[in-house]
């Protein structure tokens, strides 16, 4: 077997329904005997690795696996059937099998032989695509996954598995991939509430926070104090003095020196806990560098309150199986009278309706957000000319009212979203809503939960888990005039 190259940036993402079906199939002869299956994986080559998304299970038909053995023996018709299928679809092919209960998911010599065979055999039918070999087992009551990928003539070890709403332990090079809890006393209250295992899950998790303003900085603060091991923070802007009313970790010196919001966030997290890794990116979704970094996260939080960002985050949920919670806040009222203080949290699981199906965007506002400065100027001038002619200015430009907000509202919203992210990562609780709206000055907070339905014609129903193979179904592309993203 060629020596495996450790590659922590190979991430395998699996949706909750598919993982339930996979577990049922692979554990059908548990606890003593193994079972296996082929599967199709969407894939994306990132700047430093691969993202693989579980697109479909290609379960064995009766007789395609040999029942007489305790380990997995694949009969030839199954291999050939899968190889011929691979000629007709664009996905990577995976073999996934179980190891008996409490047996570590380390590849055996039989597994080595199998992988050597299939990596060569399938390359003839699916040239240029990765071949993945994954192992699932249950160790001391915890679900554990390991894997390796044959890609460009070398083996890469899967560094991380992300299963939607289900905590799993990633296993590589004969041990669990996890960080030690440095200061257990620090998390004593959290471990009392959720258990020590929850604190460990947080320490080995990654959360992406898109937008590091009022809402995002509150979320970052909560996540850092809870002991999340790694944060990916994305924002294109610098701190301005008008941000300081809301920005956790923001000081007047940041505004005076025009320090970026992501750098400010990193500095703040370092003060809270220097062991937390912060990946700070000046950029926006869906720029490639940003998408690559965000897809390594267990959960993402959308904290920009901008429509393009919301649309992109929703797309990452269905195409790349990245669960997220999007936050929005608005303060309503005028002439000193506050009539509404609304916060909205929207859950994006891979099976949830996307942003378009939920009608969360306004095509005009979206178009205007994405325009270049030059085009905005031209259109605003054309709108002014139209007004002079006595014509409506709308075909050219529509002024959007600036949404007002205040620090306590953004803090509540960001902290709540961070709390639900912690619930997902630890497996202790789920957001009890699909789309929550609350009015802080309404009677009983005037809470509503909208259950939206997906349109069958929408991309979110056609390209679920297709990763880059669903590129033609992309709902948004990054404008060319945006500055190239920069990883600080």
């Amino acid at each position: 077997m060629t020596a495996e190259r450790a590659c922590s940036s190979v991430v395998v993402r699996i949706g909750a329904p598919e993982f339930a079906a996979l577990k049922d199939l692979l554990f059908r002869r548990y606890p003593e005997h193994e079972w296996g299956t082929f599967a199709r994986l969407g894939w994306r080559e990132t700047e430093d690795g691969l993202i693989l998304t579980f697109a479909a299970l290609d379960s064995p038909l009766p007789g395609e696996l040999n029942e007489r053995f305790g380990h997995v023996v694949i009969n030839e018709p199954y291999s050939l059937r899968m190889a011929l299928e691979a000629e007709r679809h664009p996905f990577a092919v995976a073999v996934i099998h179980s190891h008996p209960q409490d047996c570590r998911p380390d590849p055996s010599h039989i597994d080595d032989d199998m992988d050597r065979y299939y990596s060569g055999y399938l390359s003839g039918f699916a040239p240029g695509r990765p071949y993945a070999s994954l192992i699932l087992s249950e160790l001391k009551g915890e679900l554990v996954l390991s894997g390796r990928v044959w890609w460009r003539s070398r083996w890469l070890t899967v560094g991380k598995f992300c299963v939607e709403r289900t905590p799993v332990l990633s296993w590589a090079h004969g041990k669990a991939v996890q960080k030690a809890l440095i200061d257990e006393s620090r998390y004593a209250r959290l471990t009392t509430a959720f258990g020590r295992q929850a604190a460990q899950r947080l320490s080995r998790s990654t959360v992406a926070v898109i937008g590091a303003g009022g809402t995002g900085s509150a979320a970052i603060e909560v996540l850092a104090r809870a002991g999340v091991g790694r944060l990916v923070v994305v924002d294109p802007d610098v701190v301005e003095s008008s941000n300081l009313e809301r920005l956790h970790g923001g000081w007047p010196s940041h505004a005076e020196e025009r320090i970026s919001k992501v750098e400010t966030a990193r500095e703040h997290v370092r003060r809270i806990n220097p062991d937390i890794e912060v990946v700070a990116i000046l950029g926006r979704l869906p720029q490639k560098t940003v998408v690559d970094a965000v897809l390594g996260a267990d959960v993402a939080l959308g904290c920009t309150d901008q429509q393009h960002s919301r649309l992109a985050l929703g797309e990452l949920a269905f195409r790349y199986l990245l669960p997220s919670i999007d936050c929005g806040v608005v303060l309503e009222g005028c002439d000193g009278k506050v009539t509404g203080q609304i916060l909205q949290l929207v859950r994006f699981l891979s099976t949830d309706p996307c942003v378009l199906c939920r009608r969360m965007t306004n095509p005009r506002r979206l178009s205007q957000e994405l325009m270049s400065g030059e085009e905005r100027t031209t259109r605003q001038a054309a709108a002014a000319e139209a007004l002079k002619r006595g014509e409506p200015p709308d075909p050219y430009w529509a002024e959007e009212t600036q949404l007002n907000t205040v620090g306590y509202l953004t803090t509540v919203s960001g902290a709540m979203a961070a709390g639900y992210a912690i619930g997902w990562i630890t497996g202790r609780f789920d957001p009890p809503f699909a789309r929550l709206q609350a009015n802080l000055v309404g009677k009983f907070l005037d809470t509503t939960d909208s259950e939206d339905t997906a349109s069958p014609e929408c991309a979110c129903q056609r390209a679920r888990a297709w990763a880059d193979q669903g590129a033609a179904q992309a709902q948004i592309t990054a404008p060319s005039h945006w500055p190239f993203p920069k990883r600080l």
Binding site: A459, A471, Q475
Partner: protein, 134 residues
């Protein structure tokens, strides 16, 4: 730009015999529709015209808007918005003038919905535009 999506939309037009391609003005990509029929024949104007439509930044999130005719085209003063120049463009080796045509922004077509609209459906708007001459 989602090139795969736009190419597949243009391929759908090609099935019906309509030629269209993606060109560039050096910076931004543009769809060039060839020989779009007009109602100009009885008025001594061209019976067909090439038409350009800029691919908006962020598309398909951003709505398709505007349309351009060859600079100096006799159709320009006769089409809706043709007298309201929205910019001059060099694309496909030719000069073009963008007209103030906004079908999805109050111009007669339904509001833009990326699940329904694309450069294949925009072609219908262009035909309708060139069929109604002043």
């Amino acid at each position: 730009m989602n090139r795969e999506r736009i190419e597949s939309e243009l391929a759908r037009l090609a099935v019906g015999g309509q030629r269209a391609e993606i060109v560039t003005d050096g910076n931004r990509p543009i769809v060039l529709y060839h020989d779009v029929p007009t109602a100009g024949g009885p008025h001594g104007l061209p019976e067909t015209s090439d038409v350009i439509v800029p691919i908006p930044e962020g598309h398909p999130a951003a709505a398709i808007d505007l349309a351009g005719l060859p600079a100096g085209s006799p159709l320009l003063p006769r089409v809706k918005g043709g007298n309201n120049n929205q910019g001059n463009v060099t694309a496909g080796g030719r000069q073009w003038q963008l007209a103030s045509y906004h079908p999805h922004n109050g111009g007669g077509a339904p509001p833009y919905d990326q699940n329904k609209h694309g450069f294949h459906t925009y072609f219908d708007s262009l035909v309708s535009w060139l069929a109604r001459l002043n």
